[in-house]
Symmetry: C2
Subunit: 221 residues, 2 copies
DNA sequence: TTAATTTTTTAGATTTGTCTAAAATTTATT
DNA sequence: AATAAATTTTAGACAAATCTAAAAAATTAA
């Protein structure tokens, strides 16, 4: 049993899904930009996806994934993010190295493989960039993800991603014992320089605006 | 940077490599049989592989991999076997389930990924079927692999694979504490029923001919 | 509301890997 | 050695995914 859809089709579904999430509507040019391809190629593929009943599409009138298309897209995203988690957590890749490799791994078709991988990794809820990982039914826990500057005070949150991936910021965060998964709380915001006082494991730490902008946290609601 | 060679080309290289190992010479029909394709398709691909300088080929005169082709083939085999090891050892797949999945995983291109995986797995020397895993230079430890019936007496060997993958034999082996990696030695062969007396961790165990035929071991030389 | 611009689609070509049917070549048989 | 049989290759076709250039439709601006 080979894959149900070609890698190319899967990439289109994923791109359309992401663009839908961000912009609400999706355009041919958007998709072409996202996938580094030509608008004409996108149109070609839209027809195929429509024929496969994954997409609602009338020419010149825009398009969006239908239920089935969303379902397929979510499974690809699930695979992508689980593999990214694996690469960082088990193979010790840096967060900024894993995307490209996961782009290939996400097209491995075995459902059993991905469910076993999920189990092996301990059913992680978010990938190394802090994005949620859909479960095998395509559901994900709705968590708010914001940067530290926008985290309401006195609300416990968990570090879920870092924007800037430079060695410099990682060194700083490492020194202050801030890592993926660290639980923290903003106690005070200083209007003067937008610096923050945060609590980590009952210790008080000060963070500059520059750093705060690059630390993403999630909290349930 | 995408993959250097298409999955299809990689499959041809791997098939030719295996057939070369088994039969010495390789024929168009052989390859077609192995890859479930048509002889005409094989000829088409042979020309492409020749053009890419991976194959020595004169039409109607047979063909074989050149140094570069062998090198590429060995890297694919390395990937295939490391992934199989991963699937069995970490994700607890059965040995007979992993081949198909590894057929897909072996085409993931990142060299860094596979070297990290190798490290993560502890640099295994053989895959779950007992076949040797080439190292990142394409070398493998030359080990003799035989079934237990053909293992010379008084020679320490390591269980490297099981022929029959039925639950029944696995139960029996489990009960006798014979697993992948178990070190053992044949102490006596009974001509009457071809049963064997073997030593495992200083314990003496008797094995029937039927079982012995299905336990593969390797020993260095 | 026309005209200009942008976006999207079509038409037709290209590449990769495959196929079938027929031709060329090699191997086996009488 | 001549013929039959098997193998291998060629010729030409096809599907998938892409492209360019041109046409069609929608949007924006005058």
């Amino acid at each position: 049993m080979g894959p149900k859809y070609s890698s190319s089709r899967e990439n289109y579904l994923k791109a359309i899904f992401h663009l839908q999430e961000i912009h609400g509507t999706v355009t041919t040019n958007h998709v072409a930009g996202e996938l580094q391809t030509r608008p004409a190629s996108v149109t070609d593929m839209l027809k195929k996806l429509k024929a496969q009943k994954l997409l609602l599409y009338e020419k010149y009138k825009g398009f969006k994934l239908n239920t089935e298309g969303r379902k397929v897209a979510l499974q690809i995203i699930r695979k992508h993010r689980l593999w990214e988690f694996f690469l960082v957590e088990k193979l010790h890749f840096r967060w900024d190295e894993v995307h490209e490799i996961a782009e290939e791994l996400e097209h491995i078709s075995s459902k059993k493989l991905i469910d076993r991988l999920d189990e092996f990794l301990g059913f992680p809820k978010t990938d190394p960039h802090g994005d949620p990982i859909p479960d095998s039914q395509g559901r994900w826990t709705l968590t708010h993800q914001v940067d530290l500057l926008n985290l309401p005070v006195n609300l416990v949150a968990e570090v879920s991603g870092i924007g800037d991936q430079s060695a410099e910021i990682l060194e700083l965060l490492n020194h202050k014992h801030i890592a993926l998964g660290t639980r923290l709380e903003v106690k005070k915001k200083f209007a003067f320089d937008n610096s923050l006082e945060i609590k980590i494991r009952n210790q008080s730490v000060t963070i500059s605006e520059h750093v705060a902008k690059n630390v993403f946290v999630k909290y349930d609601e």
